[in-house]
Assembly symmetry: C2
Homo-oligomer: 536 residues x 2
């Protein structure tokens, strides 16, 4: 059987909302079973705590500073290599089923004469993925203008209206049959109007199984990319009332966070969703739905694993389960994501390596620091390719699954650009200076904030990240040390993507005279002496 | 008449080998006349002191860290916008006559399905230039395999042999008619075997005039890119003996430079050409030829100016005269370039702005710090376009020529990657860490050297840059200050090339709810209140 990769991503799934990551009341037996069969990388951070740039880092294997798509709707520059460019030459189809949040660089494509309706152009326009079913999930308005397969599917089943995604899959119904929009948090406890098996998560799973079934004999990397538990927070029966108030974990926030907060945090406190999620009624209404969405995913993971097993593909398939970022859900007085507390920037990551060599590590919890950009190198490594480490900035995780010697990362980096956030723009002079960069070394987490003092948390003494030490005179040395590490990171070679280290060492790194470029020789005798020395 | 740009570049021309920049014995009346007609930017630094990356910065308007072509033969990544991409949409043909030292990203082009034989592909393969005559100058071996127009031209004139470039244009003849290679420094005082008007500089000028003549009615940017006074150091009569020993400036070197030098400098002292140029006989033989090559260029500049004037194009043409880097010629005990002393990293730059608005500044010497990357924005500005400053990292120089308010740059940056230098590789663990970065604020020049202490020069007290203060305890504060500036530079936004600041401010920077993404609303009433507030 050819080698396969099933690369499963959830959207907005926090690291700590799974049974295997310690949530006491959520039921995720199938995902927990994945952890038991593979290695769970407990300290995995995304390269940006928001969909678009995080995913562009997952797909390019590069930091956002390198690929340049710093926020949602920032087009990924044409020519930036993605997962498909790396895996296709290894004979592996790279296929999308679900969400990418990628925006094509139409201007760049036009400049280079690349037509999105041609073979190569279609890949360039879709982040290197062959599209089986793209569904970015949120279809706010004018669905007929932005038809997705999913909307057409609902339409064909008789879910009528201009935007079945909204009206059926992401809304409930009132007593008089009126649409109760899933956008509104008060409706989160109601069941979505769509039949459970036609809701987004089972639909996407069905489509993925259809792909795997018809491509059984090929080598593929299938990116199965669920848009849930991302908002709208609404889920069909029976998941809508599977969890109640008692299943919710106590909110993690502290009054001290509101005492003289860093202006950045103060700005985030003022977001509408931060106000909303600071209310108990919002948390008590929304979190059970969020948990229901996760358990629904878990059930679909079970269905997938049964399919893989029954179709005889388990032994050849690398399985990855992860998420693109977290969700504050009221912790730290915040809603949504975008900052760098673990609730936002840390994600679950499970890797099941089917090789016999990985048998010794099954069920292991790995605590080395891990980054989203490690996946592309892992995939190349699994398929037997050479990792082009002048392009890719991550590291293969297979040494961890196969118990091989490896050097742990000194720190992880995550970046965010708040230029598109009107509530925060008073913090920056222009769109160019809205950069936030987290550096976390396993104990100290520093957030570098252009134009302001940094924020600093000590995870050892303050695991819940309540106490910002960024202004503390006692912590100047830590800030200096982390700033130096960040300086080193910022200086790293990240743009020389067209020539490998190996080619420099073997082809370029020679005396010019070996090419007949005779620099610095006085006369024929001196040149001849040099030539003679080369021959001996 | 449409607007035109004549962008003249020399190769390896030091900043101080012109009459107008203070050389006491060289004769460059035509270039001096350019300085009298325009603004001479006295403190201009290239972004890398070697051909390839320096030119890629001139042509992209971006630092080498941004465009990624860090050394000669590093392909410029496909999709990286160049001068032609910026000027063509303004209706201006962007044309090459001479050298670029650009290597096409063939792998990237193949990946994107871009065929170099098609219109767009041909531009992509040539740094965005329409090729009138490309001549990279050095043709070390197998000229028949690498035919240039120039070699064919010589061939057609009866200059026979497998490589007329070498055998005629860059060699002399001995008493018995034998070829005396211009590669060998001992032959620098002899006349090249080619007729003067068929040597590289007049040939390239003739070709440029041919272009300008047939494109008189169009808007164009012609990059007239001489490969001289770059080695081989040999020039036809009468230029070969126009200068003698007495015309040579005293060598600028000091015994203290050899006392406990920085390992980087020590490595450069050991280069073959550094040994050669530390010899008086080499300097006395080569420098007169170097000066002859410059005066030959000067004569051709005179010819060009006469042509422009007589053809009535002077009043519509922006003229730029510059160089891609300098040449140590034995100063600091060094040959060639690659380090950051002024002899290597500083270049002449003259800009003649034909606008009436520039009349007040004619003949001015501008001392504000200037960078090579300032030219592309200058050209766009001259042609009336909007400078895309999310892509371009330089600044238009027209405020200087037109006496408009502007903010001086705090520092200039220049970078070099020594990974392909076998003599230096003991200084670095791998090809990835061979980075050098100069930051110069007008007084203090620091060279950041990965893995080693920096070098530091105080131009005020040590204008000749003999005393490296990088290890001085008295200068820790200066190093700290410059390191912080370098950190800020390294953090700058340089990869978000697909979306402008303006688009972020006007399109993206809105409350999500304005797009129908209703985050954080509890119920219909709250949403309606928000909507009502938007309408008022």
């Amino acid at each position: 059987m050819p080698k396969k990769i099933l690369f499963i991503m959830c959207d907005q799934l926090r690291f700590d909302y799974l049974g295997c990551t310690g949530h006491p009341s959520i039921r995720t037996p199938n995902i927990d079973a994945l952890a038991a069969r593979g290695v769970r990388f407990d300290r995995t951070y995304v390269q940006s705590p928001i969909c678009g740039p995080s995913r562009m880092s997952f797909y390019t294997g590069r930091y956002t500073q390198s690929h340049g798509a710093l926020w949602n709707e920032h087009p990924l520059r044409v020519g930036e290599m993605t997962i498909g460019d790396h895996l296709r030459p290894l004979g592996t189809r790279t296929v999308l089923c679900g969400k990418t949040h990628m925006t094509a660089d139409k201007e760049g494509m036009e400049r280079l004469g690349i037509d999105a309706s041609t073979g190569i152009g279609a890949l360039v326009a879709e982040c290197g993925f062959e599209i089986w079913d793209r569904n970015d999930g949120v279809v706010p308005d004018g669905a007929k203008k932005q038809p997705s397969h999913y909307n057409k599917h609902l339409d064909a089943l008789g879910y009528d209206g201009p935007n079945p995604w909204h009206q059926w899959a992401n809304s409930a119904r009132g007593d008089d049959g009126e649409i109760l929009s899933g956008w509104l948090l008060s409706h989160a406890s109601k069941p979505a109007a769509v039949a459970e098996k036609e809701s987004e998560t089972p639909y996407t799973t069905t489509r993925a199984i259809e792909f795997m079934e018809q491509a059984k004999d090929e080598s593929w990397c299938l990116h199965l990319s669920y848009i849930k538990p991302h908002w709208p927070y609404i889920v069909p029966a029976p998941y809508h009332d599977m969890y109640g108030k008692d299943d919710i974990q106590p909110v993690k926030r502290d009054a001290c966070e509101k005492e003289d907060p860093h202006p950045l945090l103060a700005g985030y406190f003022e977001h509408r969703y931060s106000h909303a999620f600071s209310r108990d009624d919002v948390r008590e209404t929304v979190i059970p739905a969020y948990m229901g969405l996760i358990t629904q995913i878990d059930d679909q993971i079970g269905r997938l694993m049964t399919y893989l097993e029954e179709s005889g593909q388990t032994d050849d398939t690398l399985i990855v389960f992860t998420s693109d970022h977290g969700d504050y859900l009221g912790d730290h007085w915040l809603g949504e994501k975008e900052l760098f507390h673990d609730q936002s920037a840390r994600v679950p990551l499970i890797v099941i390596d089917p090789s016999d060599k990985a048998d010794a590590t099954r069920g292991r919890v790995e605590t080395d620091l891990t980054e989203a950009i490690d996946l592309v190198p892992t995939f190349i490594d699994f398929l037997g390719g050479e990792v082009p480490d002048h392009i890719l900035e991550g590291r293969s995780l297979l040494p961890a699954t196969r118990n091989l010697p490896r050097t742990a990362r000194d720190y992880v980096i995550s970046e965010y650009d708040y230029s598109a956030r009107p509530h925060l723009r008073h913090l920056s002079a222009d769109a160019r200076s809205c950069a936030l960069t987290m550096i976390f070394d396993g104990r100290w987490k520093m957030i570098w904030i252009e134009g302001h003092r940094p924020m600093l948390f000590d995870i050892e003494t303050d695991p819940d990240e309540y106490h910002d030490l960024g202004a503390s005179v006692d912590h100047r040395e830590e800030i200096k040390r982390l700033s130096e590490a960040l300086f080193k990171w910022a200086r790293r070679q990240h743009s020389r993507v067209t020539i490998s280290d190996d080619k420099i060492d073997t082809v370029l790194s020679k005396d010019d005279a070996t090419y007949g470029v005779y620099l610095g020789f006085w006369d024929e005798d001196e040149l001849q002496t040099w030539k003679d020395a080369q021959d001996t």
